[in-house]
């Protein structure tokens, strides 16, 4: 059931990306499109934040996910390391126009760069894992 819900959420999220145009790196760059460029991009991001925040009280105090299991923990985001990481993420996002979720959707449109982007993300994670001895 949890996997079915994940599949449904993936589909819903994908449709959201498609009709908002957020999957397209051109929109992130502010290249004028029918969708309206950077202002539309910002407004869509704001809408995501707003809806996420509105939905939050529904889950307040419930303690556990409705389908069982436990909430996936979030990183602590404390100190300079967190700020550095956020900057690095932003740079990668700004330079390429992609972030992982948008690249998934673009990969589904057969855009070749999206698959390359996701492979590079995996490789970036592996570099750190190997360097810190978590993986050999």
């Amino acid at each position: 059931m949890i996997r079915l819900v994940a599949l449904g959420c993936g589909l819903l999220c994908g449709v959201g990306f498609l009709i908002s145009g957020l999957y397209d790196p051109a929109l992130a760059y502010g290249v004028p499109t029918e969708g309206g460029g950077p202002i539309a991009y910002g407004l869509a991001l704001f809408a995501i934040v707003f809806i996420s925040a509105v939905l939050a009280p529904l889950g307040a105090g419930r303690g556990a996910p409705l389908l069982g299991g436990a909430d996936e923990p979030l990183p602590n985001w404390v100190g300079r390391r967190a700020i550095f990481g956020a900057l690095v993420f932003g740079l990668g996002w700004g330079v390429s126009g992609y972030f992982p979720l948008s690249a998934f959707v673009s990969a589904g449109t057969m855009a070749p760069g999206a698959a390359v982007f996701l492979a590079a993300v995996l490789f970036g994670m592996l570099i750190v894992d190997v360097a810190t001895g978590k993986r050999r």
Binding site: G8, G10, L12, C13, G14, V15, G16, F17, L18, I19, S20, G21, D24, P25, A26, G30, V31, G36, I39, A44, A47, I48, V49, S52, A56, G59, P65, D71, L74, P75, W77, G85, A86, L87, V88, G90, G92, W93, G94, V95, S96, G97, F99, P100, L101, S102, F104, V105, G108, T109, P112, G113, A114, F117, L118, V121, G124, M125, V128, R135
Partner: protein, 145 residues
Amino acid sequence: MFDMIAGGVGITILGGILIGVAIGAMSLLTGRVMSGSSMVGSLLGGAEGVAATSIAFIGGIVAAPLIVIGFGFAQLDVVEPDLPVIVVGGLLVGLSARISGASLGAVMVGIARRRPRALLMLVIMLVGATLGGALRLLVDGGLGA
């Protein structure tokens, strides 16, 4: 269908709302953080069952455009930067996921869980993205140039 409705800020916001609902539903029902980095990362190993949820989610999000294109709703054009730029961007995003668990999905869920730090992270990410975009424009004058 998508051609007809792709022409307005309102539609863009509607798309954002759908993404927000998906984030909220995923969090409320399964407890999973709907973050692309986390989904990709869990493929490298992690708690049992997490990778399966990730694969199901990735299947859904990749299937959405396939369905839209396959049923002839729209021809979706993606304007991508050059491959080396994409590789650099992907590497940076992958590194950041391991440095501090920075990802857009995670900060959205963080905001939903009322974590003030998540909002701070989002602001710093946007600053980084602005710098990254400016950097790219400086290097080659923008897309397709």
